[in-house]
Amino acid sequence: MSATELAVQDVNASLRLAQPKLPRWAPALVGVLAVAAAGLPALLLGWGVVPWLILAGVVFLVALPLWSLAVENRRAAVDRLMTSLVWTTFGIAMIPLIWLIWTVVKNGASVISVEFLTYDMRNIIGPGGGIYHALLGTLLVTGAAALISVPVGLFAAIYLVEYGKGSRLATWVTFLVDVMTGIPSIVAGLFALALFVLIFGPEIRLGFGGSVALSLLMIPVVVRSTEEMLRLVPDDLREASYALGVPKWRTITKVVLPTSLGGIITGVMLAVARVIGETAPLLVVAGKTDSVNLNLFSERMTTLPVYIYYQFTQPGIAPAGTGGEAPGIARAWGAALVLIAIVMVLNLIARIVGKIYAPKKG
């Protein structure tokens, strides 16, 4: 369909073999001119840098396509416009990203030390102490949540795409997974707590309960992203595999999954990133402690976000007379930096693993 449409459109264009084209340096030239043109009113009216750059961007976005329209043709002008727009969105979006990450690094880097990473908060008054207990808590709770939700999510997505097409169960699962994205995180926590209280009695607080709450939040992201990735695997591949006599489940594990592995890993990492920063559900069901606890199935466990939240909201009091910040603030920034670093490392590992397993593209 697309090809015929194109062909019809292009009949006229293709008759002329040599079209006039803007020189390669045209965007750069327009860019410089736009900045200069915007600088004139900026200087005259005494604007700051930000409005100047905004105006320059607008001038560029208008001028380049217009020039292109004059010299080249309409399609090329649209292409130029879209290319500029894509680059602009990229440029604008990078500002908050870098600003945010820089803020965390600036505030957090000075706190990080061996002591900060290997001490817990037991018996710490005032400054000092560390995040060891919360670090381990985060790894254990999130790890267990991933252990629950990745297999469930993966298999559910496989069911939806490979087995359940059109069945009533699949329709329901699809809908409910969508709805699951709208569970407020605290509700997941309260639900997990109610579940464990029902089984073990009211005193129960355990790290694993946090994992259950988190997996409720993780599963929809895993299912949704995996589902989309599996759908994108061309049917040709499946059919080729079937034609060779490979059973369906081997086809899925050996052809379909490896083909979409990159996307699945991205989805899983997004899901992990989504829940690793949760505060409220963990506080409700996993509680809070100052000491190290490595047993997921008994007693309270602190995670990094809970730690960060309470270091920020209950920072203690600043040393008198110095006007400095309360000791909790610095610890919180440090912990935030560590949390981001953890996810970054996990992401990197997942990508490397994905590279190893992915089929070689020829």
Partner: protein
């Protein structure tokens, strides 16, 4: 081939990681060797409730655990309401709460039932003066009366150079900046005490009921003490209310008490609390206090948050009883109160109240 080798490495790899993790305690924990263990108590004590107490609880935990190596105290800052509920359901052995157990929702009865028919213990443990904070360029000191504070927060007085404000601050050079009152957007004990103060001391200028939720629609607000302080800091001409210890470099208004203007002080708050009457109809072990917001003593500061610790007189298990008794005794001791004052900026209990509380806590026993 590469694949299988990786797959083979994964399981032992995880096993090694788990072993490595479980092998090491945190760098500052040396309780494992057993030789230096001090204190007679051991075990884990779980409680929770008021998030306002979290800093103070941190100080108490540290002090108590230092004296008793084998004890771990956990406190979940899940909020007063949840804390009381979890205490009643038996999930918490003790609870922290910004308000005493209420009688009209049957909470007190349920708590009595949970404690085996005996009235639960309630002792004031954390008293924190609430400061009226403001951010106004060029004005370093400000004096306000309770009715005026009520009118400002109600939006009746809208500019800083309003004659009502100028009357009370003859020395200040007040600008014509618009007043932006900032309230807490969350449900909080601080708001509850602040509105209670406005209601009782506001001479009829405050027409809303006292509540943990800010009763007026609209206006600037912040989430939690930190959010409110950040909002007050962010604008010019803002005014809000927050724990005095978190006021930082913001301006703090002196409130009119009797014929003088008093800044928030720990002593002033402790003094008012000591003079205030008890809530009527409570058991002697229940120290619920109706704070006298209209106190007129010299140096008194009637705007404060009083947070209680709730426990039972008797526990089924001897270890629970010993731990609660030990921990609460430390909390209400002079040492514990001073630790909270240093770490969380709270007001230590007046010695009379402190001794009464210590006497009550001393009665905790196993069945």
């Amino acid at each position: 081939m590469k694949r299988t080798s990786i797959r083979r490495a994964v399981v032992p790899g995880i096993a090694v990681l788990v072993l490595a993790l479980s092998g090491c305690a945190a760098g500052n924990d040396d309780s494992g060797d057993g030789s230096s263990s001090s204190g007679a108590l051991s075990g884990t004590l779980n409680g929770g409730g008021s998030s306002a107490q979290e800093s103070a609880q941190g100080a108490w935990r540290a002090g108590f655990q230092s004296a008793n190596d084998a004890v771990t105290v956990n406190y979940d800052p899940v909020g007063s309401g949840t804390g009381r509920e979890n205490f009643i359901s038996g999930a918490y052995v003790f609870a922290g709460s910004d308000s005493a157990l209420s009688t009209d929702e049957g909470e007190l009865d349920k708590a009595t039932e949970r404690c085996g028919g005996a009235s639960p213990i309630e002792v004031p443990a954390y008293v924190s003066p609430i400061a009226v904070v403001y951010n106004l360029e060029g004005v370093d000191s400000l004096q306000l009366s309770a009715p005026l504070v009520a009118e400002i927060f109600d939006g009746k007085v809208t500019t800083w150079n309003d004659p009502l404000i100028a009357d009370q601050n003859p020395d200040a050079d007040l600008p014509d900046t618009t007043i932006t009152p900032v309230h807490r957007s969350d449900d909080s004990g601080t708001t509850s005490n602040f509105t209670d103060y406005l209601e009782k001391a506001g001479e009829g200028k405050w027409t809303y009921p006292h509540d943990g939720v800010w009763p007026i629609k609209g206006g600037e607000s912040g989430d939690g003490t930190s959010g409110l302080v950040a909002a007050v800091k962010a604008g010019d001409g803002t005014i809000g209310y927050a724990d005095e210890s978190q006021a930082g470099d913001l301006g703090v208004a002196a409130l009119k008490v009797g014929s003088e203007y008093n800044l928030p002080t720990a002593e002033g708050a402790a003094k008012v609390l000591a003079e205030s009457p008890r809530t009527e109809g409570r058991d002697p072990v229940d120290m619920a206090i109706d704070v006298d917001r209209t106190a007129t003593d010299s140096g008194a500061y009637p705007l404060m948050l009083t947070s209680y610790l709730i426990a039972c007189q008797t526990y089924d298990s001897a270890s629970d009883a010993d731990l609660v008794k030990g921990y609460l005794a430390y909390v209400v001791s002079e040492e514990g109160q001073q630790a909270a004052a240093d770490q969380a900026g709270s007001a230590p209990l007046d010695s009379k109240l402190q001794q009464e509380a210590a006497g009550i806590v001393d009665k905790i026993a196993a069945k």
